[in-house]
Subunit: 326 residues, 2 copies
Amino acid sequence: MAGLGEFELIRQYFAAAACATPVSGVARGIGDDCALLQLRPGEQLAVSTDTQVAGVHFPEHHDPFLLAQRVLAAAASDLAAMGAAPLGFTLALTLPNAEPAWLAGFARGLDVMARACQLALIGGDTTRGPLNINVTVFGRLPVGQALLRSGARPGDLLCLGGTTGEAAAALPLVLGERAASGAGDAELLARYWTPQPQLLLGQALRGLASAALDVSDGLLADCGHIAEQSGVALLIEAARLPLAAALREAAGARALHLALTGGDDYVLAFSLPPAALPTLQATGQPFHLIGRVAAGSGVRVLDRDGHDITPAAGGYQHFGGGDGQT
Amino acid sequence: MAGLGEFELIRQYFAAAACATPVSGVARGIGDDCALLQLRPGEQLAVSTDTQVAGVHFPEHHDPFLLAQRVLAAAASDLAAMGAAPLGFTLALTLPNAEPAWLAGFARGLDVMARACQLALIGGDTTRGPLNINVTVFGRLPVGQALLRSGARPGDLLCLGGTTGEAAAALPLVLGERAASGAGDAELLARYWTPQPQLLLGQALRGLASAALDVSDGLLADCGHIAEQSGVALLIEAARLPLAAALREAAGARALHLALTGGDDYVLAFSLPPAALPTLQATGQPFHLIGRVAAGSGVRVLDRDGHDITPAAGGYQHFGGGDGQT
């Protein structure tokens, strides 16, 4: 493809990531009109697409090594939320120019997260334009075992795969409104830039959880999706909500609010029939009991005395705009 | 997802397209963390991702109804090039704002092309930012029957699924440098805005063609991919190259040049063992014999006397920049 110049070179940066992660199920990766994926008998393919835009989902000034990890992790978290085993991803990268230092850092970060998630780069498209990064992820699942949002039933336990709120607490650091100092701030920044998709937890939840999703728009807002799609009420007991020390330190009295409404957490929230609790505990996967499922609708936060202390609604809108994943 | 406001509304525009095209193989479409695709036993999944950017792949001022058709058709053409049967697509749409007239037109165009291609909208992501449209398409194929670029052998015939050059000849009209007049110009504009992916031809070529791809960067440049990946030379006989009347009328003496180097054609180019010719002819699918495969390397254009009249190289760079699909 003579004449494509610098954008042809971009392929070379990503060839390493493509080759470094051989994953069974990728019959053909980069290099033809399509990639070819092959499932085992009795498997379904899980697919999710996720776009991040400079100035909306991440700052214009950023470290490309961290950015690549964040973008891929955010997309992979949707696979975790379905209980899918990781397979591969495509990268559609729109860039204002082919800056070697940016590309090298981005490719390195992509490779780190691709290895951590066991995702092979199977194809992509590079285009000139304002910075825009689209990742489409692919995973596999035994037919009928996907974790949906619609299966929660009154009496189920409400669980959370980790702590929430730290990524939101990192925003002043990410935006340069406050200088980072100490281990707590480093922890907050790590939660923002290098989320760890809970792929193993998601797979462990197959056949156990009655509903699941990943918390990306804030715990309250995302629990609202389970409540709505399952036709139930979710009750969060505030005293049970795990709050990281770094969050308490940075946010003080606002820690609970951020844990409930902050975004970019990328931990799983799920409902669990009580009978499944011992089996899940035996897997050794981390999770917290944070409440329960009841008849009714909506999400409420309760204090120790059972009083409703639900904060006013409001989905997370990143820091520059809104978006909606379908 | 309270608070997402106008971007939440965007889903409603596309819900129609999502529901309008039920396709077997889509076990779960829009509405959860992932879509779920299911193949039949013995099938592989073909995947390709394609981004188009305002000012690079299409003009800032455009008709959203036509744009949607063009973007989806361009992506679907990659499925045709592999011989895949259409299954579904995801749409990642980055928009500066949620303008109802634009969205309604775009959704309508998407629906038209999705129906024509038998592709179901299975998921998506809408984000605020400079206009950027990513489509990832999915198709299915019997294992081992994908049309690759690497199988052309000396002695094969070189074939083309339709005429080339019209989309490139439409550029002065698309850019408003010349006003459209007459049926010929309408034909050129249709080739630019509403390409027809050759999905049926691609499927007919399974087990017959030795190599195939879709012509998107210009016939010469794309034939170069087959030559390189197959380790052969491709010889195009200029006199056999089909030139549309509208192209001759608009481009005059430059018609052949545009047919060889123009882009955005979205017709299939393929190599065919001579023994397969009667079988392919019997399918009734349209195609032209334009040359042959020989030992050697590269692509050459020959006149009636066998003289080399290959124009200087140069891949198509749309009108505002370059890109590279991996």
